[in-house]
């Protein structure tokens, strides 16, 4: 119903102005945030260049070590071992790696479960008259503060992995190559270490993240699937499609929007901080095994920012923050345009 002229000139206009003002403010804040991060990250970027993204060593402190000569022998002057100072180095690859692996694990688990749950809500739950309560529950789960998930991970999941799951896996894998890959891992510097000892690792982080992103991916996927025109579902069913075949048809029709839902989940997983910091082991290393402790970009910031007194260290952390922000902006923008684009295409087809 179109608002009457009289009412439009009063409260409506004020509200419109307020809304526009807020939108501009938010955009301004975002630009300011980006500008701050760019300025603050500039020294680290200038110092390390592209190697910031590819180097595996992240060492905030100056290293003191015996100076070696050309033959690799310790240099001794006046009876004293000569000490050289190695300046701090910042390579963010371990945090990027940890983010990628833990988010990847999370999506691997969360995407099939979320799509299944969304299909259930859209196609089965209405019949059982549980669509309402179920949708409420999904939204409720999405609203639980992340620290609660972190505590659950720390108190329940970690000890279970450490004492039950990993030993069982190790027995099952036996001496196969799988055990060699999963339970031992070679670091970038060539040393081989046993992993899976603490239960705080990329797999644990991935599991906690999976649980955290399931509600959001499910909620968005549900809305996307609901907007599939009825004719698409009826069209497949009328041709003799089974439940799964017709569901597959709906998902194919809504694929752009569903991809957007997954991207939103990825953005949430990659940016998640508290819960991951509690369960990922906080170790800046690049390890192939998902059972190795690691660090994500967000957990790195949470762990080090408050103690970073050194200028370069701060700059390096803010550069990581910038990368994280740009990445999640890109993910969110793509996701939104896919989800919205998907449903507007649907609307046009109605």
């Amino acid at each position: 119903m179109p608002p009457s002229k009289a009412r439009r000139s009063g409260g409506d206009r004020a509200l419109g102005l307020l809304a526009r003002g807020s939108a501009v403010t938010i955009l301004g804040l975002l630009v300011a945030l980006l500008a701050t991060l760019v300025t603050a990250g500039a020294p680290a970027a200038a110092r390390f260049g592209a190697s910031f993204l590819t180097e595996t060593e992240w060492r905030p402190n100056t290293l003191e070590r015996p100076r070696l000569d050309a033959r690799g022998e310790v240099v001794i002057t006046g009876g004293e071992v000569e000490i050289e100072e190695v300046p701090p180095r910042f390579g963010a690859l371990p945090a990027i790696w940890g983010t990628a692996v833990s988010s990847g694990i999370a999506l691997l688990i969360a995407v099939p479960l979320s799509l299944g749950a969304a299909l259930f809500v859209v196609r089965i739950a209405p019949r059982l008259r549980v669509a309402g309560p179920l949708s409420f529950m999904i939204e409720f789960l999405a609203a639980i503060p992340s620290i609660a998930y972190g505590f659950w991970g720390l108190a329940v999941l970690t000890p279970w992995l450490q004492t039950v799951a990993y030993p069982a896996m190790e027995r099952l894998a036996g001496g196969t190559w799988v055990a060699g890959w999963v339970f031992r891992t070679r670091l970038a510097d060539g040393t081989e270490i046993p992993v899976g000892l603490t239960g705080k690792d990329m797999l644990c982080g991935g599991l906690v993240l999976a649980i955290m992103v399931i509600p959001i991916v499910t909620a968005v996927a549900r809305d996307v699937l609901r907007s599939v025109p009825r004719g698409q579902l009826e069209g497949t069913l009328a041709l003799g499609a089974t439940w799964w075949q017709s569901s597959w048809g709906m998902m194919r029709y809504a694929r752009a929007g569903l991809f957007g839902a997954v991207m939103l989940g990825l953005a949430r997983a990659a940016g998640e901080t508290m819960a991951v910091t509690m369960v990922i082991g906080n170790n800046m290393q690049v390890a192939a095994s998902p059972l190795a402790p690691a660090q994500t970009m967000a957990s790195l910031l949470a762990n080090e920012f408050k103690e970073a007194s050194d200028q370069l260290h701060q700059s390096a952390l803010l550069l990581v923050a910038l990368i994280l922000l740009v990445m999640s902006l890109a993910l969110n923008v793509t996701a939104r345009s896919l989800v919205v684009g998907g449903s507007s295409r649907t609307a046009a087809a109605h």
């Binding site: 698409q232 009826e234 069209g235 069913l237 003799g240 194919r252 029709y253």
Partner: protein, 297 residues
């Protein structure tokens, strides 16, 4: 994509309001809440029936949409369902392939037979039923895939993998739907790029690709322009050589152009059913006469 100015959907209130006031036995019986037996001409009863509704009723929750409809549908003929909007035409044809199962709270009584067996019998293989009964909807609903993939969709979901077989049957179906010449050079392009009329003929091709026994059509031309409508109407007459067609239309010219038999429905009842020429030129009931002469509905 829908035609501007075109409205659709149930409007049973209008129909009731526009009905004539007196002198109509059937309408008065309906008003009094008495059961109504429609007039079915002998010429229909003499035909071999593929589908047969017997005392078939349907309820959406508490509201009754079909009242003891008894109606045979002759083999290899086009049968049209006409009647004011909201009178239950779509509801009736959607029972033949049990599309109404999708609607929550639907209840039926009586029999709806396909080749003598009740499609609502417990244990009926609904998927098998829908393979035998093709359906074309009001709005063209091509799937977001290539023209070829659309046509062979029913074959693929039933496990047909052979490329040569798929190609052959796609061509046959597209020729059958009078679309082959227009699309043979762009089978791999998206079906969504076709015009509305082409999309609807594609949907017909898709519906006949799996060789159903019956083709149900629910106002298949209501979203099409006049030229496309003519082409689809020609097509309907052609396919009736091989398939039994049951078509819903609110357009009486269309019913008289394409169908052999016409059934007039009103308020969920079958009122009169006979050869199309009889229904339009020589109806037995005053209600039918009123409706086909355009005085109500």
């Amino acid at each position: 994509m829908s035609t501007p100015g075109h409205t659709q959907g149930p409007a049973s209130g209008d129909a009731a309001a526009a009905a004539p006031r007196a002198g109509y036995a059937i309408i008065e019986a309906i008003r009094r809440g008495e059961p109504v037996t429609g007039q079915t001409h002998e010429q229909v009863r003499d035909q071999p029936a593929v589908i047969r509704a017997a005392d078939f009723s349907l309820w959406y929750g508490k509201s009754r949409a079909l009242h003891a409809v008894s109606m045979p549908v002759p083999r290899h003929r086009v049968t049209a369902l006409i009647g004011p909007s909201g009178c239950g035409k779509s509801t009736l044809i959607r029972c033949v392939n049990r599309m109404n199962d999708l609607v929550e709270g639907v209840r039926v009584s009586g029999r709806m037979e396909l080749e003598g067996s009740d499609v609502y019998a417990p244990g009926t293989d609904v998927i098998g039923l829908r393979r035998r009964v093709g359906m074309v909807f009001q709005k063209p609903n091509p799937f977001p895939m290539s023209i070829f993939d659309n046509v062979v969709y029913p074959l693929r979901i039933h496990g047909q993998r052979s490329r040569s077989e798929l190609a052959e049957r796609a061509e046959r179906a597209l020729r059958g739907a009078a679309l082959w010449d227009e699309v043979k050079d762009r089978l791999r392009q998206s079906a969504l790029g076709l015009s509305g009329g082409q999309q609807q003929r594609l949907c017909i091709a898709r519906a006949i690709a799996a060789d159903p026994e019956v083709l149900l059509m629910d106002e298949p031309c209501s979203a099409l322009d006049p030229v496309s409508t003519l082409r689809v109407e020609e097509l309907i007459q052609r396919v009736s050589e091989r398939y039994t067609v049951l078509i819903v239309t609110h357009n009486m010219q269309q019913a008289s152009r394409v169908s052999h038999f016409t059934a007039f429905m009103y308020l969920g009842r079958l009122v009169e059913y006979g050869p199309t020429a009889e229904i339009f030129q020589n109806p037995r009931l005053p209600e039918t006469e009123q409706y086909v002469s355009g005085r109500f509905g």
